[in-house]
C-alpha cells in the first residue's frame, strides 16, 4: 500500500547531506582569511597609517588583533560545528564576544587626537554608531538561544534545512 500523495514525511526523514569535516574546515579557512582581511588586516593597516602620521590612535593595534582573531577563531569553530548541538552555544559565544568588543570600543569613545603641528585638536564620538551596531550581536545572541533551544528540543531537526540535498 502506498502512502497518500498529500502526506509528507517527518522532518527528520527529509534528506540532507552534511559536508565532510575536512570540507567544512576548508571552507571555514577561506572564510577566516576573508574575514581576517576585513576585520583585522584593514583596521590594523589604517591604525598603523594614522599612527605613522603622528596622530594618536583610539585603540591599540594589539587589541584590534586580539579581538579580531578571537572572533575569527570562534566564527570558524561555529561554522565547522554547525551540524552539531554546539552550533547554538557557539553562536551565542561569537555574538557575545562581538558585543563585548563593541562595548569595549564604546568605552574608548570619544576619540581624542591632535593634528600634526598641534594647531587643532579633535574629539570624535562614535558611541552612537556603535550602540546601533550592537543591535547586530544582540539579535544574533537571540538567534543562538533559539537555535540552542531547538537543538535541545528536537535534535537534528534543523539539519535538513541547513544542509538540504
Amino acid at each position: 500500500m502506498s502512502a497518500p500523495a498529500n502526506v509528507t514525511p517527518p522532518a527528520s526523514a527529509l534528506p540532507y547531506r552534511i559536508p565532510s569535516l575536512a570540507y567544512r574546515i576548508l571552507i571555514a579557512g577561506f572564510r577566516v582569511v576573508l574575514a581576517f582581511v576585513f576585520f583585522v588586516a584593514i583596521p590594523v593597516a589604517v591604525l598603523a597609517y594614522v599612527h605613522s602620521r603622528g596622530v594618536a590612535i583610539p585603540i591599540s593595534i594589539a587589541a584590534v588583533t586580539t579581538w579580531g582573531l578571537l572572533l575569527l577563531i570562534l566564527s570558524a569553530a561555529r561554522y565547522v560545528l554547525k551540524p552539531t548541538a554546539a552550533f547554538g552555544p557557539l553562536s551565542i559565544a561569537v555574538s557575545g564576544v562581538f558585543f563585548a568588543y563593541l562595548y569595549y570600543l564604546v568605552l574608548l569613545s570619544p576619540y581624542r587626537f591632535v593634528l600634526p603641528g598641534g594647531s587643532a585638536s579633535l574629539a570624535a564620538s562614535y558611541s552612537m554608531f556603535l550602540e546601533i551596531l550592537m543591535i547586530v550581536p544582540a539579535v544574533e545572541i537571540l538567534a543562538g538561544i533559539l537555535t540552542t533551544v531547538e537543538d535541545v528540543a528536537h535534535p537534528g531537526e534543523r539539519l535538513p534545512f541547513d544542509y538540504p540535498v
Binding site: A11, A123, A124, A143, V149, A153
Partner: protein
C-alpha cells in the same frame, strides 16, 4: 487503512525560522552599517582635506568710537553627509593675552558638497590704555581660538578646538603727535603740530584728522585739521602751524586727536604733551 502518523509539513520548525530570520536581519543590518561606516569614512577623509579656512582679520573704525575686528571662517564640506548642529565660538586675544571678545556662531548646517562661511566681528570701544587702543596703534599678533561642536553624518558628534595666530596691522601704527618750538607770528604764538603714523591696516584711511591742544588746566589752546588719505602701507607725516590762544600754554597739557571717516568721528586717547 491504518494511520501513517501525524503529517509533518516540509517547512522548517517555527523556532528555526525565527532564528534564521533574526540571523538574516542581523546580517542585513551589519552590511548596511558597514556600507554606511565606509561611506562616512570616505566623506570624512574628503572633508578633512578641505576643513576650515580662516580669513585674515581686518579692522575698521565704526561709529561711536569703536573699532571693529572682523574676519570669517569658511568651512567646506565636500563629503556626502551634512555637518549639522555647527556651533562655533571664536575668542580673540591680543598679544599680551588680553581678551578682546568672543563671537558665537550657529547652530548651523553645512550640507554635503556645500560650503559655509561664518563671519565674525567684534566691536571694541576705543579707550585709553584699552586693548582696542593697542589695536589702533600697535602691530601685533592676535590669538584666534575657535571651538566648534558639530555632528557629522547624523551619528558622529565631533568637537574641534583650533588655535592660530594672525598678524594684525595697526591702522595708526606708531601714532605720534608732537609739538614743535613755539614762535611768535604777528603778535600771536604759533606752534607747529606734527602728526605721524604708518597705516599697516589693509584698508585706506580716507577722511580727516582733527586735533585740539589743551593746556594743563584743560583749556582749549587751539587746534587744526588735516585731510587724511593714507593708502595701506603708507606713512602719514603732516605738520601744521596752530595759533595758540592768548596766554594758553600747552606744556603739561594734552593733544586730543579725532578722526572723521564717512561722517563718523572717532576720538583717540589723549596724547600727553611734555
Amino acid at each position: 487503512m491504518a494511520a501513517l502518523g501525524a503529517p509533518v509539513h516540509r517547512s522548517p520548525p517555527a523556532i528555526y525560522r525565527v532564528a534564521r530570520a533574526l540571523r538574516w536581519f542581523g546580517i542585513i543590518v551589519l552590511v548596511l552599517l558597514i556600507v554606511y561606516a565606509g561611506s562616512v569614512a570616505y566623506s570624512a577623509y574628503e572633508a578633512a582635506h578641505a576643513t576650515v579656512e580662516s580669513r585674515s582679520l581686518t579692522g575698521v573704525l565704526v561709529e561711536n568710537g569703536n573699532i571693529e575686528v572682523s574676519g570669517s571662517f569658511t568651512l567646506s564640506n565636500p563629503g556626502l553627509y551634512p555637518i549639522s548642529g555647527l556651533e562655533l565660538a571664536v575668542r580673540l586675544a591680543n598679544d599680551t593675552g588680553v581678551h578682546l571678545g568672543t563671537v558665537n556662531v550657529g547652530p548651523d548646517t553645512v550640507d554635503g558638497g556645500g560650503t559655509g562661511e561664518f563671519p565674525i566681528a567684534i566691536s571694541l570701544p576705543i579707550a585709553a590704555s584699552s586693548a582696542a587702543e593697542s589695536l589702533l596703534f600697535v602691530d601685533q599678533y592676535i590669538e584666534v581660538g575657535a571651538w566648534a561642536n558639530v555632528t557629522y553624518a547624523y551619528l558622529f558628534p565631533i568637537s574641534v578646538a583650533l588655535t592660530e595666530t594672525r598678524s594684525w596691522g595697526a591702522p595708526f601704527e606708531g601714532f605720534d603727535a608732537s609739538l614743535g618750538t613755539p614762535k611768535s607770528v604777528n603778535g600771536s604764538v604759533v606752534v607747529p603740530v606734527t602728526l605721524t603714523w604708518s597705516n599697516h591696516a589693509s584698508f585706506a584711511e580716507q577722511g580727516s584728522i582733527s586735533f585740539v591742544v589743551d593746556s594743563a588746566a584743560q583749556a582749549d589752546c587751539g587746534g587744526g585739521s588735516f585731510p587724511m588719505n593714507v593708502a595701506p602701507g603708507a606713512v602719514y607725516d603732516q605738520t601744521q602751524d596752530v595759533t595758540l590762544s592768548s596766554g594758553c600754554s600747552p606744556a603739561g597739557g594734552e593733544l586730543l586727536a579725532s578722526i572723521t571717516v564717512d561722517g563718523s568721528t572717532t576720538s583717540f586717547p589723549p596724547e600727553p604733551i611734555p
